[in-house]
């Protein structure tokens, strides 16, 4: 039966008062069947790629699983106890916060003025918009190579510029000194993430009606007070969501740190992702690695809940 006939048939039967019979005739039109058809793929995806690994990591974190060893058993909270006694782990926690919030703040500081600039109309706006998005679309595996060269101890173009401008007088070891390495990782993360921040902010700004800004101008508010009292409160919900995503991405980031420093030097750039990988895969202690990744979960969960609460209150 074609859909057209189906509809026509249904209609006549509804008129005839045997409404249910029409649905029994085509089983795929039933609500239950439709629900499974539409929600099924997403459910399967979430089940296999999110729920299963999550449950598995909880299970592994409570076990003595090791790479290449088939013999593993339940050990309780031993992995977590060892974690709390591990100074490198606490350094990793600290690094993760420095990395995440350092990146976020700088991204906002760059993204906000950029979004304001992009919110005006000027010649070549589309071109500029495209250029700004480039860092976001280049695969990190590629761009990190470029950054590695820029931070290279011998060939660093950044050092060359800074020295030519007489800002520094000897070549800095960007990836070799603890403080500098963290800056380097943050710089690359900011570079990769600021288009996202700018686009979110720009979307937020375009949502502020021009008339409202003009009303504020006539009401006597200058640029700063317009931003504080009018623009910022209006874009706050969008800003929150953008920030939420951005922070979660940074917090769970693996690739930019791994590709640039692999957590070194002296573990000073290790974040949760890289440290877990190092312990769990490289060192083979899967149980311990799983415990590290799980440590992120309550932190992020609390953060997300607080943000969403704030958002709902808006």
């Amino acid at each position: 039966m074609s859909t057209g006939e189906g509809y026509a048939g249904d209609a006549t039967r509804v008129v005839a008062g045997t409404h249910k019979a029409a649905y029994r005739a085509s089983w795929y039109q039933r609500d239950a069947v439709q629900a499974i058809l539409w929600v099924g793929p997403a459910f399967l995806y979430l089940a296999f790629f999110i729920a299963y690994p999550f449950v598995m990591s909880i299970y592994l974190s409570l076990s003595s699983a090791r790479v290449g060893s088939p013999d593993w058993h339940y050990v309780g909270f031993v992995n977590f106890r060892r974690l709390f006694e591990d100074p490198v782990f606490w350094q990793t926690v600290r690094n993760s916060f420095v990395f995440t919030f350092g990146s976020e703040i700088i991204r906002l500081l760059i993204g906000l003025p950029l979004a304001f600039a992009m919110n005006r109309s000027f010649k070549g706006k589309r071109l500029v918009q495209g250029i700004i998005l480039i860092p976001f679309v280049i695969p990190i595996a590629l761009s990190s190579l470029a950054w590695k060269w820029m931070f290279d101890s011998l060939y660093s173009v950044i050092n060359w510029m800074l020295m030519t401008a007489h800002i520094i007088d000897y070549p800095w070891q960007w990836l070799g000194e603890p403080g500098l390495a963290m800056s380097a990782v943050i710089i690359m993360n900011v570079w990769r993430g600021f288009p996202f921040s700018a686009v979110i902010l720009l979307a937020a700004l375009t949502a502020v009606p021009g008339e409202v800004i003009e009303a504020a101008k006539i009401d006597g508010a200058g640029p700063l007070r317009r931003f504080v009292y009018v623009v910022a409160p209006i874009i706050r919900p969008i800003l929150f969501v953008g920030l939420l995503y951005s922070i979660v991405f940074s917090f769970t980031d693996f690739s930019s740190v791994w590709l640039l420093t692999q957590g070194g030097p002296y573990n000073t750039t290790h974040v949760f992702g890289t440290y877990a990988y190092n312990i769990g895969i490289n060192a083979g202690d899967i149980g311990q690695g799983a415990a590290i990744t799980l440590f992120m979960f309550p932190l992020l969960a609390i953060f997300v809940i607080v943000m969403l609460r704030l958002l709902r209150r808006e």
């Binding site: 008339e211 409202v212 009303a215 504020a216 101008k217 006539i218 009401d219 200058g222 007070r225 209006i234």
Partner: protein, 361 residues
């Protein structure tokens, strides 16, 4: 309280010349309406007065100050926008108080003014609500309230009623008029709706393509339009136009075309004589056409095309010769489609326009 003077105002964008040589003297306490089709430059003119748009050439004076280089906040004006432009995150009270807070008024004074305005507009019970909890009409009241608490020298209205439904629009129109009578503040009001313009304005400025077409009191515009555009724009249904030739028969100036034959009133005969043998545009308002007895010599024949009974009146779309006209007749008239009727027009109710310049003759 202040007069507003626009001297030779021009606005040019890259390729568009939006406002051309606008000269306008708006008196103290006057309510002036700028009206015209979209793109006529009326909103741009208003925005130049507000300071939201730069002036390409000319001078704007508010009170006795040239305000060309003053930012909007220093011009002592308040504006009501088409989309209300309320601050969505603030309560009604804060919306109205914002301008006063920015100007560092004392809290007690702000409170007093907001309450006064709220009473005046009947929105006292809404003060704690947010804009999204208000209806369109209530929002517009708040927007007006935000303007009046400031006690500005001039009110600027940018199509403030166009987002309201028809019934509410009529109601708010009356309220705005009452408000203006009470506050006696100079007001400039932009609209594309000629009914709003006619009902609200002490004087109405008709604009088209950036030019002012005519400035005058509503009935003056209606009775003596300066050109064909104003004649057609003011009044609903619009004035009927037909091309016709001027002739003279036995000392009487007559305008004819196939199907139409009307005498020219003695008051206009002299001016019309100059057009003898030429084509002019004849204009007749729908209400000036009457059903006539079939033997009236000055009348003309028409065939009914469409009948629109509106209750208080009936609109007849009729064919006169090659042209289609609308006649507004008494509700008692019983006309049928395709019926032949005879219409008559009082000669002194006719308008004539130069076919080339479109200026009134």
């Amino acid at each position: 309280m202040a007069q507003v003077v626009l001297k030779q105002i021009n606005k040019k964008y890259d390729e568009v010349h939006a406002v051309k040589d606008v000269n306008l003297n708006i008196h103290d306490k006057e309510f002036v309406v700028l009206v015209g089709p979209s793109g006529c430059g009326k909103t741009t003119t208003l925005r130049m007065v507000a300071g939201l748009e730069e002036i390409t050439a000319g001078e704007i004076v508010i009170g006795d100050r040239v305000v060309n280089d003053l930012p909007p906040k220093d011009r002592d004006i308040a504006m009501v926008f088409q989309n209300y432009a309320l601050y969505p995150h603030m309560t009604v009270y804060d919306n109205m108080a914002f301008g006063l807070k920015m100007r560092k008024f004392a809290k007690a004074e702000i409170e007093k003014r907001v309450q006064e305005a709220a009473d005046l507009l009947g929105i006292r019970e809404l003060l704690k609500r947010k804009p999204r909890q208000l209806s369109g009409g209530q929002r517009q009241r708040v927007a007006v309230g935000r303007a009046i608490v400031r006690h500005p020298q001039v009110f600027l209205f940018d199509e403030p009623l166009s987002n309201l439904d028809a019934k509410l629009r009529v109601q708010m129109r009356v309220e705005l008029k009452r408000l203006h009578d009470r506050l006696e503040t100079t007001a400039i009001y932009v609209t594309h709706d000629q009914v709003e313009a006619m009902t609200l304005g002490d004087r109405v400025v008709v604009m088209k393509d950036g030019w002012i077409q005519q400035v005058g009191e509503p009935l003056e515009l209606y009775g003596h339009p300066a050109n064909k555009f104003v004649a057609g724009f003011i009044g609903s249904p619009a004035m009927n136009f037909a091309e016709a030739t001027v002739t003279e028969e036995g000392g009487q100036v007559i305008v004819t075309n196939p199907g139409l034959r009307v005498a020219v009133a003695p008051s206009k005969a002299e001016r019309m004589r100059a057009y003898k043998g030429q084509t002019v545009t004849v204009g007749v308002r729908p209400e000036d056409m009457h059903i006539a007895a079939s033997d009236v010599r000055t009348g003309f024949d028409a065939v009914v095309d469409v009948v629109e009974p509106l209750g208080a009146e009936i609109l007849l779309d009729v064919k006169v010769g090659n042209s289609v006209m609308v006649a507004r007749v008494e509700p008692t008239v019983r006309a049928k489609v395709h019926e032949k009727i005879r219409l008559n027009v009082e000669p002194d109710r006719l308008h004539f326009f130069d076919a080339k310049t479109e200026a009134a003759i």
